[in-house]
């Protein structure tokens, strides 16, 4: 049985990739995980390892060609094996005897799918099929021509409809029931498109993101856009569309509330000065970022609700802390994730953050690097912002923005002192996090950052 080799998804917002070079030719033997081809995408360049051992039977996508993710680009099988019949729709999930590492597998890390969170009240007698379906078919809903037609006529996203047909198929009856119930409950029926795609680590703020839900229909009609002849019209890039979709989806999913704390960075500055040299010996440039991460982790340990996700009517408290760090790119953003950040010391955090940042800027991230985040930090101060109000990176519950560190006159013990001050802003999902929780969390972060150096 031949194994399909697919164009992997190298980041949530990445819809296509270019085959730069095939490292093996047709007929060559290849081991599992042996580099098979090189790709280039908007954000990442990578060598893709072979999903299985065998002989490269076919190259379906030649070098230089750009194809959508999950496109079958080649096949690996046993020598003499017939080229397999082309599959009509390359399934994102492949049944491989031994799954390749993340680079070749588009499946997300075990992070929860955002789907449950953004599914509006459904007439859900078969909740089971509903939760199973998206896992089986991340971005493909089984329906029928008439269902597609009705969906188009009513502006319904079929993926939101409970399928009661064979294998979870959405039937005509299902969609009619859905439309009727939506009409009677006045619920929006045209909310997120493709919420079923399990995308663990979408980016924060303007970060591009996964195949994400489209905007809900606004209640009021949007005023028409008037463009004059000398205005410039530019179609959105795929990345821009994904960003737009994800941001709208996040805002529509989570009622955002913001709390801003002022933190005196005097002690952190001292600690950084003290550790700088030591870190340099390790080849790591110590920035302020690891201190913030460390403080946030401490805050989450005390208030785990910050490190959680909403799944329907359930709150999932994440056991580990995987911190996404927004990294600005020339044409967008990417959010590599520091996995198990809660098990790292300052040096580990600094090293990992530096490595991820460097690889993000040089397009050398692999898909696993950008998946599985449970909380995100975005540095709005890099570009001079006093503070920002970032949009939550779904399906996470909170995102923290770090403003620029500026020396300001502050009152300490009734005297005016000059201190390096930073504004930390927390955007959080008010469905599960109240203002008091956010303030308590930020209080811990502040306490950690302000604790005397040397302690």
């Amino acid at each position: 049985m031949a194994t399909d080799v697919i164009m992997p998804q190298m980041g949530e917002s990445i819809a296509e990739g270019t085959i730069v070079k095939w490292l093996k030719g047709v007929g060559d033997n290849v081991d599992r995980d042996e580099p098979l081809f090189e790709i280039s995408t908007d954000k990442v360049d990578a060598e893709i390892p072979s999903p299985s051992a065998g002989v490269l039977l076919e190259i379906l996508v030649p070098e230089g060609k750009t194809v959508e993710i999950n496109t079958v680009v080649g096949r690996i099988g046993q020598e003499g094996e017939a080229k397999s019949a082309p599959k009509a729709a390359p399934a994102p999930q492949q049944s491989e005897p031994a799954p390749a590492p993340a680079a070749a597998a588009p499946q997300p890390a075990p992070a929860p799918s955002p789907a449950p969170a953004q599914r509006p009240a459904q007439p859900a007698p078969q909740a089971q099929t509903a939760t199973q379906a998206p896992q089986q078919a991340p971005s493909f809903v089984r329906s029928s021509p008439v269902v597609q037609k009705i969906a188009a006529e009513h502006g319904v996203d079929v993926s939101l409809v409970e399928g009661t047909g064979e294998g979870g198929r959405v039937t005509k009856k299902d969609i009619m029931t859905y439309i009727d119930s939506a009409a009677s409950s006045a619920a929006p029926i045209s909310t997120p498109a493709q919420p079923a795609a399990p995308q663990p680590a979408p980016a924060p703020q303007e970060a591009p993101s996964a195949p994400a839900p489209a905007a809900p229909k606004p209640a009021a009609a949007r005023p028409a856009v008037v463009a004059s002849a000398d205005d410039v019209r530019e179609p959105m890039s795929i990345m821009r569309k994904k960003i737009a979709e994800h941001m709208v989806m996040s805002k529509a999913t989570s009622p955002h509330v913001y709390t801003i704390f002022e933190v005196d960075m005097n002690e952190v500055v001292k600690r950084r000065e003290a550790l700088k040299r030591e870190f340099e010996k390790e080849g790591v440039k110590l920035t302020f970022l690891p201190f913030f991460i460390e403080a946030c982790i401490r805050g989450m340990k005390e208030y785990p609700i910050i490190n959680s996700s909403v799944d329907g009517e359930t709150i999932i408290y994440k056991k580990t802390v995987n911190v996404g760090i927004a990294v600005a790119l020339e044409n967008g953003l990417i959010v590599p994730v520091i996995k198990h950040a809660d098990q790292m010391n300052l040096l580990g955090l600094a090293k990992t953050a530096a490595d991820l940042g460097e690889r993000a800027r040089t397009k050398r991230l692999v898909p696993d690097d950008v998946q599985g985040g449970t909380f995100t930090i975005t540095n709005v101060g890099v570009f001079g912002g006093a503070f920002g109000l970032p949009i939550i990176n779904q399906p996470q519950a909170a995102i923290m923005g770090i403003g620029t560190i500026v020396k300001r006159p502050v009152v300490i013990d009734d005297a005016i002192a000059i201190r390096p001050i930073v504004y930390l802003s927390l955007s959080y999902d008010h469905r599960i996090i109240d203002g008091a929780d956010a303030a308590r969390f930020l209080t811990v972060v502040k306490r950690e950052l302000e604790k005397p150096a040397g302690v």
């Binding site: 029928s144 021509p145 008439v146 269902v147 037609k149 047909g165 064979e166 198929r169 039937t171 005509k172």
Partner: protein, 324 residues
Amino acid sequence: MAVTTYIDAIKEGIWEEMEKDESVFILGEDVGIYGGAFKVTKGMLDKFGPMRVIDTPISESAIVGAAIGAALVGMRPVAEMQFIDFISCAFDQIVNFAAKCRYRWGAGVPIVVRGPSGGGVHGGPFHSQNPEAYFFNVPGLKIVCPSTAYDAKGLIKAAIRDPDPVLYFEHKYLYRRIKEDLPAEDFVVPIGKAALRREGEDLSIITYGAMVYKALEAAEALAQDGIDVEVLDLRSILPLDEEAILTTAKKTSKVIVLHEATLTGGPGGEVVARIAEKAFEYLDGPIVRIAPPDTPVPYSPPLEEAFLPQTKDIVAKAKKLAAY
């Protein structure tokens, strides 16, 4: 009004047309003295005399050929095939001559070729067939397959009055099993018009002939399971009532096409194709065909029962489609 069987309805239809129109006559094997193998023409010889009720040699080709000749000089012959299986002997006369006369010369051939078709009576491979598919691909022909006594009468009259060749396939299983009160006055059933036998919302069974009753039985059984079945009786196979087919397909979005002719190349394939072409966007599941397997009709009663679509087969496939 009197209760009339399906077979008597055919006879009455011919009888009335012969009374009304002197150009109408019948010919076939044993149609006169014997009154026909199934007695469709019983009593006609006495009533209409040997000039209009003609016993012929055992040659279907000769029967149809003579009918065509008579039709070309202004008569309206009704030719009986003793069993419709033997219509194949007259195939060339029908498809190459009768069906093409109007096209070639503008000369209509108003003949009716009729005979008992269908299985379920343990007639074996030569006395049980449904030959409609052989003629389905022949432009210039009309094919009707009545299922009720009303249609049997109304369609034989329409066939006799039609200016072109009509193949009238009556179902021998229905001859004496199906009866109904028929109106006393003259009526015809238009060729090319289907009839809705049962209205339903969940799925449609499109069928004709004896299978109409299997479909209705299945619909009753399915109603117990909350599956609301619509049954469309095509009545005419050629031309198909495309409008009725598409209407029911669009209404229920799930369609079963059921017939007694064997599966491959059966008329059902054409029905399926029309729906797929013209109502694709209305479909909520695959279009399902139910028909006998591609074998001759078995003589053995258990095998024949297995061969013919049975109510339980229809119920099972309908349930699967409804759940699709």
